[in-house]
């Protein structure tokens, strides 16, 4: 007898109460924060104690130790997996308290990875068969929370017996536990389902409640299988007066009715009856929810539900209000009237103190949006956004943006208004929706041709406001504004002002990527101005077709007004002159310009004459402004910026020469250089004025795969190669930058080739070397090889002298590089990537193509299968649905079960008959004709059915499909 030490232990053991008191004391002493050193030492000390005590042979000591550990585990998240065996040991105790403690510890701490859990099987079985109902109840409770597939399999027979227990409360627990067992061991359904169904007719409300709860959960996952039980549920719906039961039954019907419309007609009346009579809000709400979700065809019911929702909304209880709004949101798509009737409440709820209610109200408001009221609603919402906290404000902005852009802006009629609304949103103080607004501005610019002047106008307003540059959240919007201004510069009323805005000093607050967009836009504006100068007639003609005259007047006025100012600056075309000087006169000019913007039509004709004379000065002014601002940035460490700055500077160089050429012998049109420079400007302008369209999502997929491109090759050794590639390149960049910069400035040639100018000559040589070594990873493109070859030697200093030749050469080059790949050049960076889907203009072309693909796929599938009888679309659909079902299904055997219920419920649970049935199904199926064979063959082609049980599954699935077809005629017999 080892009673001695254990007795000592039990005498001096710290009880649970002592432990809790100790913990509280230490926590209080050490302040509120748990995990302070003092309390944690106490904790670890207690755990050590528990570790010692739990090994005791005395049941009482052990029980207390485990109890303490359970306490620490559940409230302090202390690991107790090491004590799993002790819990099992105690659960076999004859003392009820120890048993209870053991089971409690097990149910709280065990999980599927507890390895000793199998040792519990025997004890559970024993207790499930026990004569003491409380022991049975303990075992059931534990099983329900820690059930594993193995436990489920081993204990199914016991559960089956307990489903017929004559003790009500045991039966209830067994029923609830069966749900878990079904989930983990689907075969148990065959054994237990019949008893479950029988219990539906039980007189005891508690048992019916439990059983309905189980079916509610089951139906949640796969409702179709339970359609045959509809009559039983219907009886409960009509007879029961217990709210708990009714709520669950309603939930079941909410799932069943959409599958079988005739069911709706039957249940709608009792549901309305419950709704009218009940005083319990929970039941009333469940009725409402069932009606608005599943019974929307029944107008009277919907009307009644709407009435009740109204009652909910007028209550003071925030819970009811919230639920009312939710129900309203559910009803909105079907009966917008109900929402509109309660418009007042909804709008008021926008300023509710409860965030949930506010969000729900916002969702509802957005549901009410239509073509007619979108402007009004957005106005109201923006006002709310201005007043509310940042989070909700952004929620509002976000939902406006997503609602208005829905389905290619289908609700928007007046795009001018919408674009200006976007501009307004950018100015909402808390706005953090920069990215979305950016996308939409660019998107609308590209999709909606007519709105472009307004887009440019909005962009201008955003760009010229220096205050906005300080807010990092709207940098993305500014980026979009810069992009649209550059892309659609022909609509710009005042390019000088725009250029100034793009180059204003505060742009250094922008992140490099956005700044790069700014510079690129400046590039476009400059190109446009130069083009306007060199080809005034063409420019006029071109833009008159698209733009109103006022623009031209603006241009002309600008030029005439700014003469005085420009001449001043032009008189000293010194490299290092102060940009301020340049800014000043231009600002005046633009000020005047703004006022004179609307001028008479007569001027148009005279303008063109004037233009040739004056614009030169303007152009020179602009060129000087750009150069003086951008020159310092040529040394930027950001590649994107550096790149673009060099492009612009290259263009400036070119224009300079042109202008100089003009200055001396103006009439010598034959001058080769001049001609070529103009040519380049024209080519570039053409390139830039190339329309950019949105890119379809599937565009990439339609690009044919180039020959010899190995996509499926294993690239695991690529990393090593990249490693030895990257290091030299980086070093060459950092070291050589200043030198290569100067060279590149001279190299006019690369101004268009943004992509190609990246590898400097040094890195190019490295690249070629690398290419030699790892040739397989390179594309066999001729282009890439050609471009470096065509490059003028970077350090050719003589080039500047022989500009004319170079220019000649350049024209060739640009022709070569521009024509085949106009797109990449014409597309400035950030925007193109954001595009999605087809586009409004292309939609007709792209969508049918996609559809055709689907159909042809389906047709192919059918053809591959065998003699296709069914129409392609039908096979396609059924195939899809079966796939969907197969993925959702967790209770596969249930389906085969439902199969037999369909035939005859009484047969349920009878193992033998089912097996036979199953087999016959299998056989039948093999003789079955085309359609199913097709379905199966292509299913088995799919990767997810390559599962070991694939074949079995697909057979069952096929059976399931058959049920679907077979069920519909059967149900009415039950119902009617």
């Amino acid at each position: 007898m080892a009673g001695g030490p254990s007795l000592m232990d039990s005498l001096f053991q710290r009880s649970l109460e002592d432990l809790i008191k100790g913990l509280r004391l230490h926590n209080l002493a050490a302040g509120t924060a748990a995990g302070t050193p003092e309390s944690s030492t106490f904790l670890s000390k207690s755990i050590d104690e528990v570790r010692r005590e739990i090994k005791s042979t005395d049941q009482q000591t052990k029980t207390t130790a485990l109890q303490k550990l359970t306490y620490l585990h559940s409230l302090y998240a202390i690991d107790m997996s090491w004590a799993a065996f002790h819990a099992i040991e105690l659960s076999s105790s004859t003392i009820f308290n120890s048993k209870r403690t053991g089971y409690l510890a097990a149910s709280i701490s065990f999980n599927s990875s507890t390895d000793v859990i199998l040792l519990l099987t025997h004890q559970l079985r024993k207790d499930l068969n026990s004569g003491n109902p409380h022991e049975v109840s303990l075992a059931l409770q534990t099983l329900s929370s820690i059930c594993t597939p193995d436990l489920a399999r081993d204990l199914t027979p016991e559960l089956f017996t307990l489903l017929n227990s004559n003790k009500g409360f045991i039966k209830k627990k067994a029923i609830a536990t069966v749900l878990r067992v079904f989930e983990l061991y689907p075969d148990s359904v065959r054994v237990c389902f019949k008893r479950l169904v029988e219990n539906l007719e039980n007189a005891d409300v508690g048992i019916v409640s439990a059983i309905v709860g189980v079916f509610c959960e089951l139906a949640n996952k796969e409702p179709r299988s339970y359609l045959p039980l509809a009559p039983e549920f219907y009886r409960i719906l009509v007879d029961s007066r217990n709210n708990w039961v009714l709520i669950k039954v309603l939930k079941i019907f909410a799932k069943l009715v959409p599958l079988e419309p005739r069911l709706g007609k039957r249940v709608v009346e009792p549901i309305c009856e419950h709704l009218r009579r009940t005083g319990a809000k929970s039941l009333a709400f469940e009725c409402i929810r069932t009606i608005v979700c599943s019974l929307t065809q029944h107008e009277l019911a919907v009307k009644l539900a709407a009435e009740k929702i109204r009652e909910f909304l007028t209550e003071d209880d925030p819970n009811l209000k919230y639920l009312g709004l939710q129900a309203l949101a559910a009803i909105a798509p079907k009966s917008l009237n109900a929402v509109v009737e309660n418009k007042e409440v909804v709008i008021k709820s926008l300023s509710d103190e409860d965030v949930n209610i506010k969000f729900e109200a916002l969702r509802l408001v957005m549901a009410m949006v239509s073509e007619d009221n979108v402007a009004e609603i957005c106005r109201v919402l923006i006002n709310y956004a201005l007043k509310s906290d940042p989070e909700f404000c952004n929620e509002i902005l976000g939902s406006i943006l997503s609602t208005c852009s829905r389905n290619y802006y289908e609700t928007i009629v007046d795009f001018d208004w919408y674009v200006s609304l976007l501009g307004e949103m950018a100015r909402v103080p808390h706005c953090q929706k920069g990215e979305e607004i950016e996308n939409q501005l660019v998107d609308i610019g590209m999709r909606v041709r007519d709105v472009r002047p307004e887009v440019v106008h909005v962009g201008r307003d955003l760009l010229i406001d220096p205050a906005l540059l300080g807010n990092p959240f709207i940098h993305r919007i500014l980026s979009a504004a810069a992009w649209v201004s550059g892309e659609y510069v022909e609509f710009c009323k005042n390019p000088f002002e725009l250029m100034e805005a793009l180059l204003q000093p505060r742009t250094n607050l922008l992140p490099p990527s956005v700044r790069a967009v700014y510079i690129q836009s400046a590039f476009k504006v400059l190109t446009f101005a130069a083009y306007f100068y060199f080809y005034p007639e063409e420019a006029l003609a071109a833009s008159i077709s698209g733009v109103g005259e006022s623009v031209h007047n603006g241009w002309c006025e600008q030029s005439s007004d700014s003469v005085s100012g420009q001449t001043v600056t032009f008189s000293e075309p010194d490299e290092g002159f102060n940009p301020r000087m340049l800014h000043q006169p231009q600002k005046d000019a633009s000020g005047n310009d703004g006022k004179k913007m609307i001028s008479d039509l007569e001027q148009v004709s005279s303008c063109s004459v004037k233009m040739g004379h004056f614009t030169k000065d303007c152009l020179v002014g602009m060129v000087n402004l750009v150069e003086s601002t951008l020159r310092p940035m040529a040394g930027s460490h950001e590649v994107e910026i550096q790149d673009r700055v060099k492009n612009v500077l290259g263009l400036i160089e070119l224009i300079r020469q042109e202008i100089h050429g003009c200055l001396v012998p103006k009439e010598e049109e034959n001058d080769r250089g001049e001609l070529k420079a103009c040519e380049i400007v024209r080519v570039m302008h053409d390139a830039f004025s190339e329309e950019l369209g949105p890119v379809s999502l599937s565009a990439q997929g339609r690009v044919p795969l180039p020959d010899g491109l190995e996509l499926k090759e294993n690239l695991s050794d690529l990393e090593a190669i990249c490693g030895d590639f990257r290091i030299p390149v980086l070093s060459s960049f950092s070291l050589e930058k200043p030198r290569s910069l100067e060279k590149d400035v001279v190299t006019v040639s690369d101004q268009q080739n943004e992509e190609e100018c990246e590898p400097s000559s040094e890195s190019t040589s490295l690249l070629t070397e690398h290419r030699k070594r790892h040739g397989i990873y390179y594309l066999p493109s001729e282009k890439k090889e050609k471009v470096p070859n065509d490059y003028p030697p970077a350090n050719d200093l003589s080039m500047q002298d022989k500009v004319n030749d170079e220019v000649d050469y350049l024209v060739k080059l640009t022709e070569k590089s521009l024509v085949p790949k106009k797109k990449p050049i014409a597309k400035p960076r950030p925007v193109v990537v954001k595009l999605d889907d087809g586009d409004r203009i292309h939609i007709n072309e792209t969508l049918p193509e996609l559809k055709e693909d689907l159909i042809s796929d389906a047709v192919q599938e059918v053809l591959l299968g065998s003699q296709a009888v069914a129409s392609s679309s039908r096979t396609d659909k059924s195939d899809k649905s079966s796939n969907r079902r197969s993925r959702k299904e967790t209770f596969r055997p249930l389906e085969s079960n439902a199969d037999s219920t369909t035939v005859e419920i009484a047969e349920l649970g009878n193992k033998n008959s089912r097996r036979i049935k199953h087999r016959t199904h299998g056989k039948e199926r093999s003789h079955r004709s085309s359609k199913k064979a097709t379905g199966e063959s292509d299913r088995s082609d799919r990767p997810n059915s390559s599962h070991p049980h694939g074949k079995h599954k697909s057979r069952q699935r096929a059976d399931g499909m058959e049920n679907v077809a077979a069920e519909s005629p059967v149900i009415p017999d039950f119902l009617l």
Binding site: I108, F169, A210, N319, Y322
Partner: protein
Amino acid sequence: MIHFVLLISRQGKVRLTKWYSPYPQKERTKVIRELSGLILPRGPKLCNFVEWRGFKVVYRRYASLYFCMCINQDDNELEILEIIHHYVEILDRYFGSVCELDLIFNFHKAYYILDELLIAGELQESSKKTVARHIAAQDSLVETAKEQASSLSNIIAEATK
């Protein structure tokens, strides 16, 4: 179904946790932290539902204790509120005007009562009386066992004297 039940004090201390869906220990701590942050700051006049990770958490405050239950999006929130109230009433009856301390020192009893009320995330017994009766019966079982044990230890104690 109910995914888990949490009892959190106003100071953010956990008083009881019961998980009906599998959550690993790490996740549990995270969930508790997240929900305390979400629920505790909410004012008294707000609604009792919080949307969280695609679920709904229904909570109700009794004195300094928040009773929280997590349910599916389409479950009935009002029903859960009633269940919470039910549980509190049973506790109240059992302890005689229950307070936080009762639950702290009798955490296991709180579990046993909860187990009689809910099983596998479903309500199993809607009658307060029945639950009370079961708990009382179990307690009496414990008592008789204890008496036996204590008499036994008495015997041993006497024997070792």
